[in-house]
């Protein structure tokens, strides 16, 4: 009997080869057979995951740059504020921290890999690496330099350690010379790493 693998989707074209890939299939099929989860639940959760990416965070940042009132509510109550943009971040608490000329913020999860997934998608590998998690809290300026970000000594660096219940998103500084850009053009400038805080947003007028 062929049971309902979620694997038949065309998004999967590589046959499993490793023990852990076989283990994944086994656990999934057992959970489905036992009625604990349905194949559809899993498919939908993957679809939901695929629909989330840094462009959502960028949209939030761009709005905060052009709309001071939105920015204020974003910093006070991020879940409610992003809801007004039609974004739902689920039950997890989210705190948006603002970069200013005086303060640069950086986010990390020293325990595991907590990340503002609802607005940035799944985290990059380096965010989950031993190197980043160990050193971001101990020598954040050196870590920032490794990303090409040189934060002046006069600027305070604040590191935020995420948890399963509280995630952070950095609101980067709007770069100079962007006064004429539309909200969409601004959003296009905002990359994932700037919302983690390892880079700043750049703009060069051509």
């Amino acid at each position: 009997m062929k049971t309902s693998s979620t694997n038949e989707s065309d998004t999967n074209n590589t046959a499993p080869t490793t023990y852990y890939q076989f283990l994944e299939i086994s656990v999934r099929e057992l959970l489905i057979e036992k009625g604990v989860l349905s194949a559809e639940d899993i498919r939908n959760a993957v679809k939901e995951m695929d629909s989330r990416g840094p462009e959502l965070g960028a949209q939030v940042v761009a709005r905060a740059w052009v709309d001071p009132q939105f920015k204020q509510s974003l910093l006070q109550d991020a879940p409610s504020a992003v809801k007004t943009l039609g974004l739902d971040i689920g039950p997890v608490q989210l705190l948006v921290v603002e970069n200013t000329p005086e303060v640069h913020n950086l986010i990390v999860c020293t325990l595991c890999s907590c990340y503002p997934r609802s607005l940035l998608g799944l985290p990059p590998d380096w965010y989950k690496s031993r190197e980043y998690r160990s050193r971001a809290v101990r020598e954040p300026r050196s870590v920032l330099l490794e990303f090409g970000t040189d934060i002046s000594d006069e600027v305070e660096v604040r590191v935020h350690d995420s948890t399963a219940d509280l995630r952070y998103l950095v609101l980067p500084q709007r770069p100079a010379g962007t006064g004429h850009l539309t909200e969409d053009e601004l959003a296009a400038l905002v990359k994932r790493d700037s919302m983690i805080g390892v880079t700043e947003v750049c703009f060069s007028a051509i």
């Binding site: 299939i25 057992l30 604990v36 993957v46 590998d125 160990s134 050193r135 399963a164």
Partner: protein, 99 residues
């Protein structure tokens, strides 16, 4: 591991494979059902209990599926027998398909 010595951060990333997304999806579902079938703390406990050399050798989602499997057995959602039977079946299924 916050605060430990470690080397430079290598800016690595990869597109998540389908099986990795499935592992992630299962955890999301198992931890958000009411009542929960396992907790995020259990996931972490399982990962943190790995010996350092195993931890280093395994990829991120390999650690996750390992820990999820442990927790589901501990919580009585799956039995060890069911699991080993299924694992054997799945492995032989793909081996025959290969030929």
């Amino acid at each position: 591991m916050g605060g430990l010595e470690a080397g430079h951060v290598k800016p690595t990333e990869h597109d998540y494979e389908f099986w990795e997304k499935n592992v992630d999806a299962m955890l999301v579902l198992l931890t958000s059902k009411s009542p929960k079938l396992m907790s995020v703390d259990q996931l972490r406990k399982g990962i943190e209990s790995l010996p350092p050399d195993a931890y280093e050798k395994m990829s991120y989602y390999e650690r996750w599926i390992f820990s999820i499997t442990q927790a589901l057995q501990y919580n009585g959602v799956l039995t060890t027998e069911e699991l080993s039977r299924k694992l054997e079946e799945v492995q032989s299924r793909y081996e025959t398909e290969e030929v």
